[in-house]
Amino acid sequence: MSVPNERATRSRLTALLGRQPIGGLLVAPYVIFIVAVFAYPLGLAVWMSFHDYFFTAPGVPVDRPFVGLDNYVAVLKDPAVRQAFGNIAIFLLVNVPLTVVTALLLASGLNRAVRGLTFLRVAYFIPYVTASVAVVGVWLYMFTTNGLVNEVLGPVAPDPSWLVNESLVMPNIAVFVAWKQLGFFVLLYLAALQNVPKELYEAASVDGASRLWSFRAVTVPGVRPATVLVVILATITGANLFTEPYLLTGGGGPNGASTSPVLLMYQRGIEQGNPDTAAAIGVLLVLGVGLLALANRRFVRGD
């Protein structure tokens, strides 16, 4: 074999496997994980959403004809699905800004606190690591008709009460989720705050900036990358809301006012044996969340 040929082969190999083939080997476990846990199920879900599909025992011969957009049409025509997407929009409108503002405020407070720092960090983090089922119990104790909150509010307590009130139930769940996840987002902000140079605060104070002004002019822009992350993560976890409508409001009540798309997917796909329409809801949700995350990124980053 001639030399130029050998070089050509090698360069083709290099082009195929990269200059450091061992690197490929090192990332393989993660790639396999991604393929097995994300790519394959997502691919299957997309496939299912275009077919008349249901789960069967192995070896059962069934016809699974291609049905084009039928599942999507059925799903989009369904008022329950539209209501669920509307519910989740209300949820995100309350939950995401609330999460960002409170997490940032608490993190800046914690960043300055000298005493009891560990205690406070742990206190904020506990709801995040506690099982939803247990925390939902606490929330029920507080927000049912004869719950703690209504006892305190007395005559101004809402009627019907929080969790059976069609206008209040989704905001209530949004506050619950914001509270539950706050610890995690506070940690993200705390880490980001460590990276804001002290000199900037000193310079601001030399220029005569008030505390509030230096928060606005130094802290907020300083943690912007963290804010992008917080907004996107809160949007994604929020759009996948399931446990709260499942447990807190007894399957999306009152009257479907707290049904989320994922709860509907569970009902349709798992309970009722229609994984094809459930997959169509799932694909729509993935697309929606993807677009929302892109928009968030552009908007918060300011590019």
Binding site: L44, N146, G250
Partner: protein, 432 residues
């Protein structure tokens, strides 16, 4: 195109193709006569109810002692949100056991569609055995293809349980509370709430799970319609005079605050928050010592005599799953476990009613010893099951959503709620 990208893209395409290949199953497999005779060890699942496990373990022990070559291994249904979900997943994965002593009739059509159930009619004498044991009531469990894919096993016919102490507090005769007609029931309920004896007269879960209608609408509908099912011959039955009067009754209960629109976290009856509850015979052992209780049939508009009133059966059945290899043994075990001796043991240990003809006549000693169960045993002769139709769970969810909107939350009137739900249910019941 960059070659490395090509490799990645090709990999992804391969993954998607595998996905689709896995998605479409192939091959054959039919329950033939030959398959039905294989014998050997089998696995069974039991419900995770303590008393039933006790019964199951004793049953397995008795069988294994006589059949060393065909041993049963029993375990509880693995944990999950619901048994139906776990069983559905096991069917798909091909690792369901031979028999599950906790198969919900509502899920049978779905399991059957999944190819997960063995027709019990395909066994020699299968239909005869089931019909002889259960009588006419067995017909309710027959699938649309005319075969039986479930063995009617035990029922929990529901009745109205009431708390005598709270009735007394409300100024109602605790030994004979007027609860037979809707008017009586409403008046008694009003007294309970007005007197402050309890927060609610009766507190069925107002939440949206598909099965909740089995414990508010369905028993009363069964009674009012003299034993009609939700769907018969592919047609919704509830958009009728009977359905309408049941819906009107519950609408009034909610409107007047006699039933609460918010779910109670816990057991409202045990906690004294509600003076009545719709329960099956399991309640006797649960409330037995805690509450001084009485039981009456569910009300009807005209106050039909107790011995004519139908109710919801709340049955759990046994089914054989296609993953089972030793079906011959499984069938023998099924007969053994539903024989008179084991049925007696089940009644003794769990207080649940074997789905047998003339129950009080079959176990006279038991009912003499436990007279409180007699009422339920008599009621067990007049029960209505959930319809065994395609899309059964979806039908119940549709009904529940309509009920929730109209009867519980009063967004539309009950007539519109029932009519809209009936139209949708007719569409679903007509599909295969």
């Amino acid at each position: 195109m960059n070659p490395r990208r090509t490799v990645i893209a090709a990999g992804l395409v391969a993954v998607c193709l595998t996905a689709t290949a896995c998605g479409g199953g192939d091959g054959g497999g039919d329950a033939g006569a030959k398959e039905n005779t294989a014998t050997g060890p089998i696995k069974v699942w039991l419900s995770n109810n303590e008393a039933e496990i006790k019964w199951g373990e004793a049953m397995v022990e008795a069988w294994n002692a006589e059949h060393p070559d065909e041993e049963i291994t029993a375990q509880e249904i693995p944990a999950g949100n619901s048994s139906e979900e776990v069983i559905g997943a096991a069917i798909t994965a091909g690792n369901a056991p031979c028999l599950i002593f906790n198969t919900a009739p509502v899920a049978v059509s779905q399991f059957q569609k999944q190819g997960g159930l063995v027709s019990l009619s395909s066994f020699e004498g299968g239909d005869d055995y089931i019909e002889e044991r259960t009588g006419e009531a067995a017909e309710q469990y027959r699938s649309e293809d005319g075969e039986l894919y479930q063995m009617p096993w035990k029922s929990n016919p529901v009745m109205i349980f009431y708390n005598k102490a709270l009735m007394k507090k409300a100024g109602v005769d605790p030994e004979n509370p007027p609860l037979a007609t809707y008017d009586e029931f409403l008046a008694t309920s009003q007294k309970i709430v007005d007197s402050g004896a309890a927060q609610a007269a009766i507190w069925p879960a107002p939440s949206s799970e598909f099965y909740q209608s089995w414990f508010d609408f369905y028993p009363l509908f069964a009674a009012e319609s003299d034993g009609q099912q939700l769907v018969e011959d592919g047609e919704a039955q509830f958009d009728s005079d009977a359905g309408q009067s049941v819906a009107d009754f519950w609408s009034q209960m909610y409107e007047k605050g006699l039933s609460q629109k918010e779910a109670y976290n816990g057991d409202s009856f045990a906690d004294g928050k509600a003076a009545m509850a719709i329960v099956g015979p399991w309640a006797i052992s649960v409330y037995g010592d805690k509450v001084d209780w009485g039981a009456v049939p569910v009300p009807t508009s005209s106050g039909a005599p107790a011995e004519e009133v139908y109710t919801f059966s709340d049955a759990k059945n046994v089914a054989m799953y296609t993953a089972c290899k030793n079906r011959g043994t499984a069938w023998e075990v099924l007969k053994f476990a539903t024989g008179e001796e084991q049925d007696g043991a089940l009644l003794e240990l769990t207080g649940q009613m074997p789905l047998r003809q003339d129950l009080p006549g079959a176990f006279p000693e038991y009912f003499e010893k436990n007279p409180t169960y007699t009422t339920f045993a008599e009621q067990a002769a007049r029960t209505v099951e959930v319809p065994n139709v395609p899309n059964s769970i979806e039908i119940w969810q549709t009904f529940r959503d309509g009920w929730s909107e109209s009867v519980i939350f009063g967004k539309t009137d009950a007539a519109t709620g029932l009519a809209d739900a009936a139209e949708e249910v007719n569409g679903l019941a007509g599909q295969s």
